[in-house]
Every structure is written in C-alpha cells, then in structure tokens.
Amino acid sequence: MSTINTWDDLNKAAKRGLARLLPAKVKIVVGMATSGIASGAQAVYDALAKEIANRGLDIVLSKAGSMGMDCIEPIVDVIAPGKPRLSFSKMTAKMVPILIDRVVNGDLNGIQPAYRMDEMELLLQGEKKAYFSGSVPVDCSGIPQINELPFYRKQVKIALRNCGMIDPENMDEYIARGGYTALHKALTTMSPEDVILEVKTSGLRGRGGGGFPTGTKWESCRRAEGEIKYVICNGDEGDPGAYMDRSLMEGDPHSVLEGMIIGAYAIGAHEGYIYVRNEYPLAVANLQHAIGQAREAGLLGKNILGTGFEFDIKIAKGAGAFVCGESTALMASLEGKAGEPRAKYIHTVEQGLWNRPSNLNNVETWANVPVIIARGGQWFSGIGVKHSTGTKVFSLVGKINNIGLVEVPMGIPLKDIIYEIGGGIPGGRKFKAVQTGGPSGGCIPDTMIDLPVDFDSLWEAGSMMGSGGMIVMDDKTCMVDIARYFIEFLVSESCGKCVPCREGIYRMNEILQDICAGKGRRGDLELLGRMAEAIKDGSLCALGGSAPNPVLSTIRYFRSEYDAHIRSKKCPAGVCKALIQYNIDKEKCTGCMACAKKCPVEAISGERKKAHEIDQAKCIKCGVCMETCKFDAITLS
C-alpha cells in the first residue's frame, strides 16, 4: 500500500475502493461477523469459493461485517453490473450451487432474495450512488427494497454506516465511503479547538453508559496540564446482552481508528490504547489488521497525512472482568494491575493512565466522530432530540421476532422499536418488559411502551441507556428471577474494594435467592430497599452505585410478582424451579412416549398410547418434556 499524504492520494484510494464496491463484474459478499460465522457463514463462503473455482467463473468473492439483522444470517449479497444489490438470507452450503445458477444462468426459480438495494448511501459525502442506471430491471421489481422492510424502515445508520457494506480488511473500501476524509479535514483545515467546538455543537454524549458530553470531556483533557496525554477506546463491552461494539470493531475497525486520531489531534495526545474484551477474538484481529494498514499508509505514526502530527495506537486485551468497563478500573488494568476502580475526586481527564491526562470514550462514540467532522456538528444535532442528539445503536434481543442490531434516532418511541422494527413478540405472546442498561439499568414495563428512548427519559423511568442492550421479555419471563440474575452477576463481578458493594449485593442476592426458592419473608422488599440506598451511597464506582437498579426497578413496576413469590409462594411466569411443578394433562396426552424418551432423569413413566405420569420426586424441572410435547399435554402449575 502506498502512503497517503494528500487529498489526491485519498482520492486515488477512494477510486480503487469504489471499483470494489460497485464492481464491473459480478461480486459476491458473505457477511462474516461473529454472528454470521456462528450461523454457518464460513461453510457458505468455502462452498462459494469451491463452486466458483470448479465452474471456472470470473466472480469476485468478498467478506463483510454484519448488516444488523442477525436472525436471518448467514447473508450473502450479490452485486452484478446493471442490477440492484440482492441479499439472500439464511444461506447454507447446499444452496450455493442454486445461487450460482441464478447469478450465472439467470435461473430465477431456485432461490429468492430477502431484499434488494438500489443505491448505496455515502453518508460522509452526503450523496448516494446507484448500483445500476435507468429503471429497476423487471426481474427485480418484485423484491422489496431494504428500506421498505419494517426492520430497516425507521433506522438511521451513522455509527453502523459501513457495517455489512465494506470488507473490514480493505481500507480502500473504507476510504471510498468517505473514510479518512474527516481526518484530512480536521488536520488540514481545523485547529484542535475547532474540532472540539464541532463535537460540542453536535451534542454527542458518550455511548458507553453515562452519557457525558463528549466535547466537554475532550476540552477538559486538552486543558489539563501535562506533556503526555492519552486517548483510550473502551472496547470492553461488558453489559450482557449488548454487542454493538463487537459488531463495529469487527465490521468497521477504521471508523474507530479515525475517530481516535481526530480525538488525539483535538486533545493533543500522541499515544492511544484500545482495550478490547478477551471474548472478542475477531474484533482484536480486525483492529490489529486495520492498525497495520493505517501505519503503512501513514495514517498512524510520526507524520500523519504529511502534516507532522504524530499518533499511534496499541491494542490491549481485557482479561474477563466486568468492572474493567469502568474508566479508572480499565486504566488500572492497562497499567498491568488488577482492575480496581479508584475514587474520582480527580477526574481521569486530569489524572488517568499513569496519572497523566487521559480521555476515554467507547467504541460507538469514537465511530460517530468522523461523521460529525465531515458533516458538521449542526447537521448531527438535527438528528434525535434536544438533549440526546444523533442516533443510538441497540441490540434488540430476547423474546422478539426480529433479533439484531438496530440504529435509531434518539427519542424514538419504545413502541416503534418493539413492534415495528422488532416485529413484536414471538408466538403472539404478551410483551411484558424491556431491560436496558445492563446490570446497572432497569426494566421498563409494558405500560410505558410510549416512552421516548433517550438518555433522560430512560433515566427518569428508573433505567438507563447503558451501552444499548435491549432485552425484551414476555409473560414467561419472571421479573424476580431477572433481578436475582443481575444481582448474582454483580456479586461475582464486584471487585471487592468497597464493603457496601461487596457485602451488600451479596446479602441482596441471598434474599432474592430465598424469594425465588419460596423462602421469602414479609418485609424482604423493604429490607432490599434500605440496603439498596446504603449500597448506592457507600460505593466508589458506578458498578456499586447502580447495582441495586435492577432490583429497585422491578420492585417499582412488578411488585405484585414479588408478592406472589413471597406470600403465595408462586412464580406466575413459571420460571423459579422451587415454585413450579410440571404435570401431564391426561386428556391431552396421547401416550406417544416422546417426553419419556427425552427426560434426562427418567421421571416420566407410562405405556404406549396410555397417558403418562411424572414422578415429582425425580423431576428436575428442566422443561424438556414441555419443549418436546407436540400435544400441549404438559402443564405448569
């Protein structure tokens, strides 16, 4: 790769990239993020490579990250000259020859695409490029366009702009979509103060949890005294149920790097770190690859874009500690110590890593930066609502039909996310609650379905934005069990430094375990409330400070469910094992013996064609019989 020093050099790279994005011959792209690979994308990729070679075809085979709709992966896109880009969902290796028949011989009967894309949006340039000229080919007009699908209709992609659209290992493709133009603009036409002002104007708030204004943070770090300063990217995405940062680092690593280089220029830093979760090997690999490319092209190193600005980035792997998502704990970990937080009387922007001024932002925040610089803070602030500008990526998971990553303007009603984008609850069951904010957040009940989703509204509802996990729950999810689940999580993740957190959550866990086991006592909820206050007040960091939230919010909105557990010793959702019993409805049982065969403890007995019975003494309540029965004969009481 040649060095990129000037605007001309960038244009040349963009030209090369565009020739790959809008190729002159057929190109097939396989979505190969972790979720794609886990769904079988590697086998599909290998089968495509083999088929193309066997038939001696002149077809380019490429990879991309995830488009977000993970529930229909593996996804294969076909880009053929003169045609819209076509996306085929739930691909298997067996379907590959049929797909190739369609592409090569025009056999339209075998396999149908899920959607088509007529044009490609180039967000940073503010323009669109068509995949074909003229009107839509007749054989494609019946295929829905991607933005006609309910899942995509209300989405606005800023942070995820390139995910699924580019090969994460190809920097030219990134540049073709406007990549590194914002860096060029910042380094050649703006002062560091200009950059900070632009970010302040945008209203961007940290996407990692707290929602602190990014521009203000940068300004404090710039003003802090010290020769050596650091910028750090928090890629320790610890909230269970959130995976947007993984998708970004895997699918568009250069956007994170570009954001960090711009930030470093604004702050006056020459060294940067990306702290990535150990559980994300592909993210580490893709980031490492991107850093190598950027160094080779002179976009990282001593003389960035020939301007004399110096900055480089190192990757540090996390070692599996949730608390390291907290800024001071993360910095302790970077220093090679156990990741214990410290009091923040002095902010990390003044004394952070090795006691030097350090600016930490999370992955999604960094990925927004190039867009803000390219399009302007004013443009960005026009998206979303007043105090929560721009978009937010959510991982919409749990009991929801369309599972995946969605990026929506701030302030969108919760209802739109659940019912329109998410397509409602599977099996026509009842929506009960949505959990946001990870272990620091809370549960929002169905009665608040009209709630606008932004930083402040979520906070007022007793939850928080967090990093954007959105776990949907239906009437078969027990809210007491969910509270117990989060508290148990925090018990094992508390670093143990502050006694109220270490011992307090431990005790809360014991009480919740008792309630779930049918040993709850009157007064337990009041006791939990009092302990929650003490833990909040007596903990140094946000882990302890917000630990009681899942308990408090579930008590606030689902008190009757707690009462059912404590007073009636019943679990209405049928989850808490000590409070439920599986039975066989003798009327409905056909004696097919399927459940008896599947039961891991041989608790089910009965002859063929005669009603079966469950031996309650043997039953471990694993629920396999209920999953197996085709006649709804297994009941829960």
Partner: protein, 160 residues
C-alpha cells in the same frame, strides 16, 4: 492435554515485553494461551523477571476470569450467561452439561477431556442461547442436542 511446563518457553514469552512491569496482565495472558492455565512455576518466574511481588501476580491471576490456576481439559466448554441467553433458558443448558459430564461448573472431567465454565456474555445475543466449545459457537442450543455434541467432541478428542 496440557503441555509440560517448559521454563524456557515461559522466559521466552516474558522476554517479549522487555521486563515492563505494566505488561504483567499481557504476559499472563500469553502464558495462559500457551499452557491453557497458569502453572505455579510460571507465576514465580514472572514475579522474578518483572520484579513484581508474587502476591501482586497472584492477585492478577485470581482477579481476572480468563486465568485458571488449574490445568484445563482438552476442550473448554463455555456456557454463555448473558441476559439474552438467560431469558432464553440458557441456565438449563448448564444444568444438563453438569449432569452429562458429571462435574460442576468450573471443574474438569476425570479424563481431562472437558472443562466446564460459565462466561459472562459472548456477544452472540442474537443466537441465544449459545455455548462455545473449543472456540466454536453453538447457536440456538437445546438441552436435547447436548449428548450428541459431547459425543462428537469426545470422538474427535480421542483421535487427536
């Protein structure tokens, strides 16, 4: 099986970091990757070479979930305990695995084939519930599939 503890290898890994104290976590990660656990000798050597007290090294080794002080089996089974997996009944998978392998979470089978652990979220929430075995994600896993999957790994493991 876990490799024999090779002192030369330990020193070689440490030397990559030029004796930087701040590299303690990274050194232990590399050692963990090499040996699949942290042998006692390795901790002592790291302490000597980086001139960090052994108590500090032990603190790091026990603070982070990724480190193990006991040898792990040939295949590491990680049951995802993320929220999405929990809501989709992932806890039943752990129960079934414990029952089938006849070990508790955190233990290794007698034949050193499997180590069973819980992991805090693999970021594969769209495929919940998931279990990762030897680095491979098994999506939408049901209890029923577990005996067959274990059998396949065991077969492959004996051959190796």
């Amino acid at each position: 099986m876990n490799k024999e503890v090779d002192r030369g290898k330990i020193r070689e890994i440490i030397s990559k970091y030029d004796g930087e104290k701040s590299a303690a976590v990274a050194v232990l990660q590399d050692l963990q990757e090499e040996f699949r656990y942290l042998p006692k000798e390795a901790l002592t050597i790291v302490s000597d070479e980086l001139q960090v007290p052994l108590s500090r090294i032990y603190e790091i080794a026990t603070f982070y979930n990724v480190f193990s002080l006991k040898p792990r089996g040939k295949y590491l089974i990680e049951v995802c305990a993320g929220t999405a997996c929990h809501v989709q009944g992932g806890f039943n998978l752990m129960n079934r695995l414990e029952r089938n392998l006849n070990i508790s979470c955190g233990e290794t089978t007698e034949d050193a084939m499997f180590t069973l652990e819980e992991v805090r979220c693999l970021g594969c929430c769209s495929l919940a519930p998931v279990v990762r075995i030897d680095g491979n994600i098994h999506p939408y896993l049901t209890q029923d599939e577990i005996p067959g999957i274990l059998k396949n790994y065991r077969k492959a493991g004996v051959k190796k």
